[in-house]
């Protein structure tokens, strides 16, 4: 982010604070941090927008979406940009209010229709698709973006004021407060005009202009503001106004730079000058490639965007909806296929590695849930059953010897489970035995002149605990993390997450053998949607023989964690079993993730939503599932994807071998 000249108590001073992510030092008592408000802002955004947004630091937003020239940032329909900390205002309540307003504005992009004209980009839906295409129609797209996002934010501001009584108060405070702040600290006419544009569009009277040129532009803007302030104003209205105001802002900007910095000091407006000519970019003085990270990504994908219809003045734009319909999806899916192995498109996205050999073994296709489009992608994922290598079975015997005490304890508890499986069914009208308590109640009722209940009998039913359980182990690369010494005393620094998981499997298997429940052990990992790998460790029919032990011995960290298909495959295996009760226990060490698990590698939401969908599918098939994780962040996300009693975060990984049997006991109850 460029260095912004700022007076401490000014609008730019505020923005400077918000756009920096410095941690620590001089935090006032009035400060509110992102961590404090993270979950409630995520919830508020989801509530207002109806779409989950992933919170990201404001300082990480691309210039096109959010920069210190703005009154407030814009989002891209996937991410919610919020500052790391706000302590600018005197009161905590006011600092928190700023978070709420930023959240409201970005959520309103969905509710107010900015994101409803999506397009498809490389087969993925791009909520801002239409807008980006529109902006790329200008000779200086970055400048157009500056004008557009200010106009549209103004439109959303008046939308919010009309619709939300509570936000109305807060918005009024926001505008009033910001204007009282900005007395005279504009670095030039252009900055003043851009700041003012948003407020003017929202119908707010801006204070008299400091720079006369800015005053002229804002007066022209005011004349247009009715278009976006009217009830029901849409994206197209913002676009229309942008088209009209763009030349004025271009002139203002050029006057500033052309005149040797007469108005706007510093070079941080330079990116806005970036120019594009007829689909090609030129380098005078800055090309879009250099200037705009966001557009830069886009230019590579321009061909897809080219398919979008282009906005033309006077064209009827009222209709909502995407330009590319779902029926086009197979085509994109194919394109995706062909593009496998291509270069990264954006920094967060990993290059699809091709050096993994295609796995051998039986393969299966599974659907995947795309929460953004709210639909299943049919046969999207290919899962291979890959033979698990064989290690040294003696390793397992070693674990058995080492954990003898724990295994005996678990076995003892599991024996009690067997006794449990005899149950009394009560309140029957006929049965094997009289229930003494019911009888007593009936007698009392009769004495009291009430009708006694006739349900006096009970029956001993050996509950046929016809159970089969599948334990699914996440064998992703992250299980390579060392755990030694974390707990202090058990300090073997060479022990890794996977080793503890192996121990847990051994303890569990030993105990289950004796309990007699049918069980299977599988691991999963893989890389990319065409290569999900599923490793059989122990099939249902197998006993805990030497081969199985050698497979347990060889579990090792592999690649990614695409959880959805692994769950779906487990479900299909469980479904084939005749048992009455089916359990699925998933042991993982972090977020479900894979390089192409969703459009944006940095976004965890897609993977979470797909996992959640897979768990629901399991449930619909009568399979009880349970997620056990050693990831402390699990508290945040498991709550959202599992049923309330369907997950557990094991805070100390070393407890895993003890926790797993406990969970099993609970599940079975």
């Amino acid at each position: 982010m460029p260095d912004i000249p700022a007076a401490p108590c000014s609008l730019t001073g505020l923005n400077r604070e918000l756009y920096s992510d410095v941690q620590g030092s001089d935090v006032g008592a009035q400060a509110v941090t992102l961590e404090e408000v993270r979950t409630s802002m995520a919830g508020m955004a989801l509530g207002l927008a109806g779409v989950p947004l992933e919170i990201q630091l404001l300082s990480e937003a691309s210039f096109t979406l959010a920069n210190p020239l703005r009154l407030c940032p814009s989002g891209d329909g996937r991410r919610l940009f919020l500052p790391a900390r706000v302590q600018f205002f005197q009161e905590r309540e006011e600092n928190r209010r700023l978070y709420r307003l930023y959240t409201a504005f970005q959520a309103a992009q969905w509710e107010g229709g900015t994101l409803h004209r999506s397009g498809k980009r490389n087969g993925e839906s791009e909520p801002l698709g239409w807008t980006l295409k529109f902006l790329l129609g200008f000779s200086r797209p970055m400048l157009a973006a500056e004008v557009f996002f200010a106009v549209d934010a103004g439109r959303l501001g008046s939308f919010l004021r009309k619709r939300y009584g509570g936000l109305r108060e807060e918005l009024d405070w926001f505008y009033e407060c910001l204007f009282s702040l900005c007395g005279g600290d504009f670095t030039g006419a252009f900055t003043e005009a851009v700041f003012g544009l948003h407020a003017v569009m929202a119908g707010w009277p801006a204070p008299p202009a400091v720079f006369p040129d800015a005053g002229e532009v804002l007066a022209a803007a005011r004349a247009e503001s009715a278009t976006v302030a009217k009830p029901g104003a849409r994206l197209a209205d913002s676009a229309r106004v942008t088209t009209r105001l763009y030349p004025l802002f271009e002139r203002l900007l050029l006057a500033g730079s052309g005149g040797g910095g007469r108005y706007d000091a510093g070079n941080w407006l330079d990116p806005l000058l970036a120019k594009k000519q007829g689909g090609e970019t030129t380098g005078e003085p800055h090309s879009v490639e250099e200037g705009g990270d966001f557009f830069q990504e886009l230019l590579g994908d321009l061909e897809d965007l080219e398919n979008l219809e282009m906005f033309q003045a006077g064209e009827d734009l009222e209709a909502d909806g995407s330009f590319i319909t779902d029926t086009d999806l197979p085509k994109f899916a194919q394109a995706e296929e062909e593009a496998a192995g291509r270069e990264p498109r954006r920094d967060g996205r990993m290059k699809a590695r091709t050096d993994f050999p295609e796995p051998e073994g039986k393969s299966f296709r599974y659907q995947e849930w795309n929460y953004l489009d709210k639909r299943y992608l049919k046969d999207w994922v290919r899962l291979f059953e890959v033979e698990q290598g064989e290690g040294d079975a003696a390793l397992v015997d070693g674990i058995v010897a080492e954990r003898r005490e724990l295994i005996d304890e678990v076995r003892r508890q599991f024996r009690l489970l067997r006794a449990d499986s005899v149950a009394w069914r009560k309140k029957l009208e006929a049965g094997d035995e009289v229930d003494i308590w019911e009888l007593l109640n009936a007698l009392v009722d009769r004495k009291a002149g009430l009708y006694p209940s006739a349900k006096l009998f009970m029956e001993r039913r050996v509950r046929e605990r016809d159970i089969c359980a599948l334990i699914l182990l996440d064998m992703s690369a992250s299980t390579d993390t060392a755990v030694g010494g974390v707990g202090g005393d058990t300090g073997d620094p060479r022990r890794k997450v996977i080793d503890i998981a192996r121990e847990a499997l051994v303890v569990m298997a030993e105990a289950l053998e004796q309990l007699g429940d049918s069980y299977a052990l599988f691991g999963f990992s893989g890389y990319g949607r065409h290569n999900v790998e599923y490793y059989p460790i122990k099939f249902f029919g197998e006993s805990l023989n030497t081969t199985v032990k050698s497979r347990i011995a060889s579990v090792e960290p592999k690649k990614s964690t695409r959880m959805g298909p692994a769950i779906r495959h487990s479900v299909s295996l469980l479904e084939r079993r005749g048992a009455r009760e089916k359990l699925l226990v998933i042991i993982s060490d972090g977020y479900p993730q894979d390089f192409d698990y969703g459009d944006d590698r940095r976004s965890k939401e897609y993977g979470l939503q797909d996992t959640r969908a897979a768990l629901r599918e399991a449930e619909a098939r009568n399979i009880k599932s349970f997620c056990l994780t050693i990831d402390l962040a699990g508290y945040d996300y498991l709550k959202r994807i599992c049923r309330p009693s369907g997950y557990l975060v094991v805070e100390d990984i070393l407890d895993l071998p003890e926790e797993l049997p406990k969970i099993y006991k609970r599940l079975r109850a």
Partner: protein, 287 residues
Amino acid sequence: MASQESEQRELLFEEYFFEEEPYYLPVGDEVEIFEVAWKARLPLLFKGPTGCGKTRFIEYMSWRLGRDAGRETGMPLITVACHEDLTASDLVGRYLLRGEEMVWVDGPLAIAVRKGALCYLDEIVEARKETTVLIHPLADHRRMLPMERLGKVLEAHPYFFLVISYNPGYQSALKDLKHSTRQRFLAIDFDYPPPEREAEIIAHESGVAPQIAAELALFGSKVRNLVGHGLEEGASTRLLIYAGQLILEGIDPRRACEISVISPVSDDASMHAAIRDISHSIFPSAR
């Protein structure tokens, strides 16, 4: 609470009907469907989340059908809330000791079948499987109720009509309806009404001004967006009406939401904070 002097009545099952039209605002084509089903005597299954108007709908329909059946009032409506210990004889009837004599007393289902009434089995999945199968012969072309204890079968009165309900949302899969049961019913899916309708319902039921009703409906629809993201079930129309009633009594809207929606729908503090942020967006602070 200042309660009005109201005359308390005890009614026999078959005397429970509506004399006046219950308020019901149709959301889709459910009224039409119900009438067609009724004409063909095809039993109905209502599916939908809690507090979305299922009970109110059947009350309304019972009133409406009364005229079809040539009555001045509504059809009698017999509602049974199902639970785990509900046995066959709870529905069909039993012998009771009266003095020296054993007398047979019909259960609610038998009454409906004999006298011709709408019978509404609420939350049917809660009942044990062996109880549920009892309604099978009633719910197909046979329309009869076997009364084992009496060694008889009871043929259904022409006006007998069976409706069952369940909430698929929080049903554990283990408690699902058997296919042999569910495939005897036509199913109507209920959901919370769209905001404008819901606002109308809230205004009518609670008496709040249309503006506040609209805000409550907006609030409800926003809270429902959180379902599946840490919230098991969204705010029901019923809760929004409660909030309206509190507001009407002078409670600050934000506070009313707190008591009637935020706290009832979840026990999770971070969920509370999120919903509170939504309510504070919609309702201005008290002045």
